[in-house]
Structures are given as structure tokens and as C-alpha cells.
């Protein structure tokens, strides 16, 4: 296995232009309405922001510290921009409904479901699982080779606890862990369970059965980040 190619994390000190809480409430409501139709479209519609439409290269997003001109249409969920346009496939497609968490990314440091987040409404820097090492390097002031070789402690803990089985849900799980540890540096087991279950719009689902391993890994990451 080769070393990790680090890349720049988001700049610190930026204001967060929108409240993720209100967005989450919106998503929850939207999903409730969308269930009858089983369609993501209704959710997306309810989330439309007043931001002028991007697309055609006018829309810019800062992802893992790099600004990108986005070619996709403004209604495109961030997930497909990441995976198809930018090749950042570490963010996975699980449901397209905000029901499982496989597509979670950080926007302005908050865990957000990219499958129901149109690119036009995004304000804040985006961090995907690929950007976690740089996020940590920046936080710790690591540079050069040291930064390039250092994983985020959450990723390191995931490896040491051998968390993934199929691994498909784990990018979203690690994103949730980074969000949680940024708010609660030393969460209790109950706080970990609650974060992964009750954070809107849905619980983070794992089908293989790794929840216990995830709890151990979050606790391990918390110790190493102290």
C-alpha cells in the first residue's frame, strides 16, 4: 500500500453562511413528504436555495481546499458532481433519499447528505473522505511529507479497529465521526450511539454489522486526537 497523497483542507476561520440545523429540519420535512412518492425530487425541490443558479462553469465550489468550476446543472445533487464530474468517488451513493448516510460529506464542518443537496445551494467549504487527511494536517499544522503521510485520526482508528467489512457505508460513518468529535471531543458511548442514530435526516445505516466496531473506533480516535 502506498502513502497517502495529502491535499489541502478547507481554510480555517471562514464564516459558515448557512445554518446546517435549519437545513436539516428542511430535509427531514422534505423526506417525510417525499416518502409517498418514493422520489428524491420532492426533497430536492424543498431544499432549493435562493442562490443564483450556477452551471456552465459559473458555479464554484471549494472542495478539499481546491476551488472547482462546476459544469453540472445547478439542480444536480452534490453527490453526482463529486463522483461523476470530479472523480471523488469516496462519497458513495446509497439511497438518494437522505435515508442512509453513505453519501455524507462535511459542508462547513457539518455532516451533510450530498445525495439530497443541490450544488446551487451550497455555501461553505466541502470536505469529502478524500480530504480528511488534509483537514487534520491543517488542524495540526503538519506540512510537507509529514502532512502527506498522515491520515486523519478517525481514518487511522478505522484501520486499527478493522472496521469496514464491505466498507460501502464507511465514508459516511467517518464523516459523521469527524463531525461528532469536532463538537464533542470525548463522547460517551451513549453520545456516539445517539449521534450516528439521531442526527437528521436519518440514522447512518450499516448493513454488514459494524456498529460495535465503529463505537470502538470513535473512542480510539477521540483518544488519539486529545
Amino acid at each position: 500500500m502506498g502513502e497517502f497523497d495529502g491535499h489541502r483542507g478547507p481554510e480555517e476561520g471562514r464564516d459558515l453562511p448557512w445554518s446546517p440545523l435549519s437545513r436539516r429540519r428542511l430535509l427531514t420535512a422534505g423526506i417525510g413528504a417525499a416518502l409517498a412518492a418514493g422520489a428524491a425530487a420532492a426533497v430536492l425541490e424543498s431544499c432549493e436555495q435562493s442562490t443564483p443558479a450556477g452551471g456552465g462553469g459559473k458555479l464554484e465550489l471549494t472542495i478539499n481546499g481546491t476551488k472547482h468550476a462546476i459544469q453540472s446543472t445547478p439542480d444536480t445533487p452534490l453527490l453526482y458532481v463529486l463522483r461523476d464530474e470530479l472523480g471523488l468517488v469516496g462519497t458513495r451513493f446509497g439511497c438518494g433519499l437522505g435515508q442512509c448516510g453513505a453519501c455524507a460529506v462535511l459542508i462547513g464542518g457539518k455532516e451533510t447528505r450530498s445525495c439530497v443537496t443541490p450544488v446551487s445551494g451550497i455555501k461553505g467549504e466541502i470536505t469529502t473522505v478524500e480530504g480528511l487527511p488534509a483537514l487534520w494536517a491543517q488542524k495540526r499544522g503538519l506540512t510537507g511529507a509529514k502532512a502527506a503521510q498522515t491520515l486523519h485520526p478517525v481514518q487511522q482508528a478505522w484501520i486499527e479497529e478493522q472496521v469496514p467489512q464491505c466498507g460501502y457505508c464507511q465514508s459516511g460513518m467517518m464523516i459523521m465521526a469527524v463531525d461528532l468529535l469536532s463538537r464533542i471531543p470525548h463522547p460517551s458511548e451513549a453520545q456516539i450511539r445517539k449521534a450516528f442514530t439521531d442526527t437528521p435526516p436519518s440514522a447512518h445505516l450499516c448493513r454488514c454489522g459494524t456498529y460495535d466496531s465503529i463505537i470502538r473506533a470513535v473512542q480510539r480516535a477521540a483518544r488519539s486526537m486529545a
Binding site: T66, H68, T76, D84, Q162, G167, Y168, R193, I214
Partner: protein, 754 residues
Amino acid sequence: MNLMTGWRLSRRDFLKAGGALVVTSAIPVSPLVEALAAADPYPALDPSQLATWLAIKADGTVIARSGHVELGQGNQTALGQIVAEELDVPFARISMVLGNTNQTPDQGVTAGSTTIRLAGLQLRQIAAEGRAALLKLASERLGVPTDRLRVKDGVVSAGSRHVSYAELVKGKVLTAVVPITVQNYGGFGMRIVGTAKPKDPSTYSIVGKRIPRVDIRAKVLGRPVYVQDVKVPGMLHARVIHPKGIGSTLVSVGASSIPGVRVVTKGNLVAVLAEREWDAIKAAQSLPVTWSEWSKLPSSDAVYGVLRTLPTHDKVQTSRGDVSGALGTAAQTLAATYQTPFENHGMLGPSCAVADVRSDGSVRVWSATQYPQGLQRDVAQLLGISPDQVEVLRAEGPGCYGRLSANYDDAATEAVVLSQAVGRPVRVQWMRADEHIWEPHGPGTVHDLIAGLDGSGNVIAWKHEAWMPTNSDSTELGAALSGKQMKGTGIGTWTGPNLYTFPNALDVAHGLPELAAADSPYGFGLRTTYLRSPGQYQITFAQEAFVDEIAARVQSDPLDFRIRHLADPRAIAVLQAVARAAGWSSRPSPQPGASARADGRTGQGVALVLRDGTYAAAVARVSVDPATGKVGVQSVTVAQDAGQIINPTAVEHQIESAVLQTTSRALLEEVTFDNSNVTSVDWSRYPILTMADAPQVTAVLIDHPEISPTGVGEASVNVVAPAIVNAVFDATGVRIRALPLRADRVKAALQPGS
């Protein structure tokens, strides 16, 4: 691994362009595609040739090829451990190539916990033959008889003289000392017959060690590892609009209102194709399609009565003594009916595949199938070409638990049909509802049990009848919808022995056809296929709960009761081990003072299974909230004996996986359907376990290095649900005989007079 190298280089190139503003206009081609295709030199596939399986590279690394695939259990690592051990090379020098029809021998489907038990033992023999071949070369080189040679870390030495494997093989094809033969190639009965003797397990230094899994790092770094990540030049994104009802046929389809979207229909296969994925999704949601009405399916509310009325194909699993006669003389009898629901495999990522049907007649398919060679044959049959013209490149997928084992890949066959139609590579990605509705589900079952006891409370008669629809739907949806009938759906089967020594015993499976298959134009009905420990999961639930009922009737400790009716020492040993580890209280169930009011007390329950050579026993501890009926599973302890342990960490994780997934199945999961189709279309209507409700899992491993290894992916799946219902009975005195133990049903069962 090639895969890592490919990505790293590509990623660097990508980043070189970085800085201020990166504009990426074209769809980037996934480096995963290059990695999956990047082949080290290998000979034409001939399983009797050592070089088909093994290659020693000039740098001393070893390539070992297996037709089995990684499903997230750690197969790649465990197989590598077996090969490294037998060859005496460091584990880090082993590179496993898995599941590529052009590169790997056919070792059958990766299912039924067979990777270690079958494919692993085949590879062990191959590696032993390889070691013997290398020692022969070394003997000739060093002029020393082979029995005086020593091997360490891939270096053969005789006294102070030594030569490495790489030096020995340089420029040569590795050939077995005595030709090996392969029996039943590709089947479950496949055997590699050779003359080399594998190592004595007492000398092992790699097998049995906690070697970290080699696939985890890439997954944790978010690298492209899944079939969902495959992108090839010129690829179109497709979404298939599946029929409204299971047997609905296409009436009409209009044009898409989304610019640039192409609508393709072939028979009843309807799809939209677009350059951009989001356009395909929008087009699929808005495409005007009309389907015929079809309502031949019994609804999930009424299905259990229907199961008993279907034509059956009976299979007698156990028949001993005279059950009818013994029941006639019994002092008392017990009878009960159990039922299990239709369930989802529930892949966390819906089905996805990429196909490229080229004008020269060759076909490439990227798939997460459990059986690349099986899919290769299906695609060839679908297109009417030779399997040699079809290459299946297997990428990892979301955990599938049998979903891609009999039906090798619906999405792949759909992608093949569409690629042929448009003359371009096509990526089919199912949406969540497609997967929840159209996956071949785990079958629901109904069970009648009766036991006769003599005047002293001894069991003198046991009878278990089970009605179960097919476990082996092998329909390829792309073929069936496009009008190509290929394979039948089979009938339900029983799996697993009855370990109990009851003197008169009869276990009969009434194998049923697929629900409503006879009334569908496609030949399939409510699709049902192998789901993790298929058949035995349902059988064990009914059997182990009913054994508990008998133990309660005779006021015997359910654990002691089992042990008294067992003769197999390994079965007894797992029960004793789990009792010790879980702190089992030896007493009859229900516990003194147990009440339907539950009042927060904790119950204990036990269950036992033998699954394909692996013994497992579980003890569950649960509490029941009488106000809501919610069953809280606090802990599950599992003791397991799978013979020789290859990697204890991987085994522990498989047990953790089995417990959490099965707790989910036991407490929550049920596919619902009306007369037309599945109605549990997403995770909100098919809820699964969340972290909040995950029990604490303790795994006790019983290692028998001298006993041939058996599977670890399925055995413990079977014991969780019965241990939980038995623990609910212990806490409340209320026996619940239907899964899932949904809160509303448990609450109703706890009501007085229910």
C-alpha cells in the same frame, strides 16, 4: 495491489492540475478500470497447470489467483495467509488476484461460506504443490536432496548455501513435480488432487494470526474500489424503469422531456440513457410509461395461509424411528406453528454494473457478482455468443449476502442489453426503490412442529414440517425483461442437520415454487434467493425456539436440556463455552417472577446450530419494554467452532456482523407486498437496525488447528433470532412464534388473553 498504484498515480496527475481552479469537463475515467484490467502475465487458464494459480515474480513477490471474490469478510487476506503459509513466504509478498474470468480459475460461486472450506483448501493444495516444485528446483540447483532443504521467507537453504524462489523460477514456468488433476472443476465438489502434503498445522506461523485485512485501507481512504466507481470512456449512464407490478408488461412509453436523454426499450426492458447521471435520474422519474395491471400476488398479510396451499416438492431431511407411532403413545404432546417473513438482502448500495458490448463481438462486464464465471456464461447465453467472448471483471460491491449468488447480477444483464442496443458502454445504477422492490428477497416460511413426551418428560417424538418458497431464483432481470428466458426459479430447500438424539424424528421441507411465478409472463414471481444461511436460518429459528418450548414444559434448564439430547462433542462444547462466557444462569425458563408486565427484567436465551461443518451457539440477553413492546437486545455472546482458524480477527468480525445483521432481521425486518408488487420500497418502510439498538457482541472462538477449516460467515447467523425469542420468553413468560419481533406485535402478544 495494482489497484492502489493505479489510483495513486492518477490522483497525483489530477492534483497536478490543482491549485487555484480545477475545471474537469469530461467524465474522468476511473483508475479502477485500469487496475482491474491490468494483468500480470498469466497463461491460458488451465486449472491443472500450477502456473494458472501461482506465479513467482522476479522481485520475490507471489501472485496467487482465485476465482472466489472479496465480499467484505476478509477473503482476500485469509486466502493470502493460506498461500503464504504453505509456500513459506512472508504474507506481505502475496498478491491475490480474485474473480476475473480472464485471469482466475473457476472455483465456483463465493457463497455458502465456501471460500475457506473449499476454495481455500484448493489453494492450500496448490501452494503445497508449488512449494514441492520449488524445492525440486532448489534440490537440483544446490545438489542436495529435498528432505535436507529448509525454507524461510521464500529462500531455500542447505547449510550455508541458499537460493531464493525468485532465482529458482527466473525464466521458467512453475510446473508441478507430479501433474495435478482437478475434479468437478467449478462445482461445489471441486477437488485439486495432487501429491504434495500440506504443512503440519503445528508449524504454522501465518495461518491463525491476526493479520490486518489488505482491503481495508483503500476503503477507509475513499478510493475507487466498488463497481459503482467504474467509469469507462464513452460510457452512458442508464436508469431502468422497472415494471409496475411483478408481472406487468409494457403498454406504452413516451419521449423524455429531459434534453439529450435517449429512451431505449427492448421488450419490457425500459431505460433512459444520458451522458450525465443526474439527467438519467430525472428522466427516469418523469418518463411517461404505462404498464399493464397485474395483481396475482398474495399480499404479505395473507401469504402464510397461501404457502400451505402451493404444490410442494418434499425433501426429507431427517427420518428416524416411527414418529406417528411414538406420538400415539406419548403421555403429552406439544404443537406450535412458527413463521418467518420475507426479507431483504438490503445491499447498502443498490445494484450497479457496467457493460461494453463491442462491435467486434467481444463483451466486457464490470460487476460485483459473487460468481464471475457464472455471469460470464449467463451473458454469453443472453447474447447467443461463446463465453470466451465475454470477460467479467469483478469489482467489489456493497455487501450482498447472497443477493448476487444465484442471480449473478441483474444490473449487469440489463447493462449488456442496453449496451448492445446503443453501441456504447453503459452503466446501469439501480435506485433505492429498484433494489428494495426487485432484489430477489429471502423467502418467508411457515413451520409446524410437534413433539411427544413420555410420562417421565423424555422426548420420544419430534416432527418439523416447513413450507418455504424457492431459495434459488436465478433469473437475470435483463434477460427476462428483454424477452430472453434463460433459467428457472427452483424450489425451496432445507439446509442443515438435526443434531438432537430424539429417538423418533422427522424433518420435512415442503419446497415451494416462487410466489405467483406461474401467473407471471416472465417465469418469475416474487423473487426469492439465497440470503445469508438460506433455509437454515428459518429452520433453526423454529427448531431452537421449539426445543426451548419443550424444555420449559418439562421445567428443565434449556441449556442442560439441549446437552442431554446431544451426542456430538463439538456441539456440546460450544454450548458449554457460550454458557461460561455469558454467565448463563442454570434454571428453567421462564425465570421466577417472569411476567408479561416485563417490569424491566432481563431474560436469557440460548440456541445452537451446525452449519456446513461449523458449530455455533449463542446466548442473548434482552429486556422488553411493556409500554411499547420494544425488545432491547443488550448483548449476544457467541461461541463458535469452525475447526482451524485462519484469522481470528476476521472471524470475530464475522460473528459481530452475523449478530448485528441478524438482530436486525429478528427485530425489524419484513418485506411487505400487495397483490401487485413489493410495498416496502425504501429504508423508511423496511427499517433495519441502527447503532442505538446494536447489542454488545462477545465472540468466543474455539480453535481446532487439526480440523479442516469450515466457514465463518453464516453459522452464527442462525442462532441469534432463536436466542432472542427464547430470552423474551425467559423475561416475560410469553412465547412469540413469528418474526420479526416488531414492537407493536410484541406489545400485542404481552396483552392479557392474547
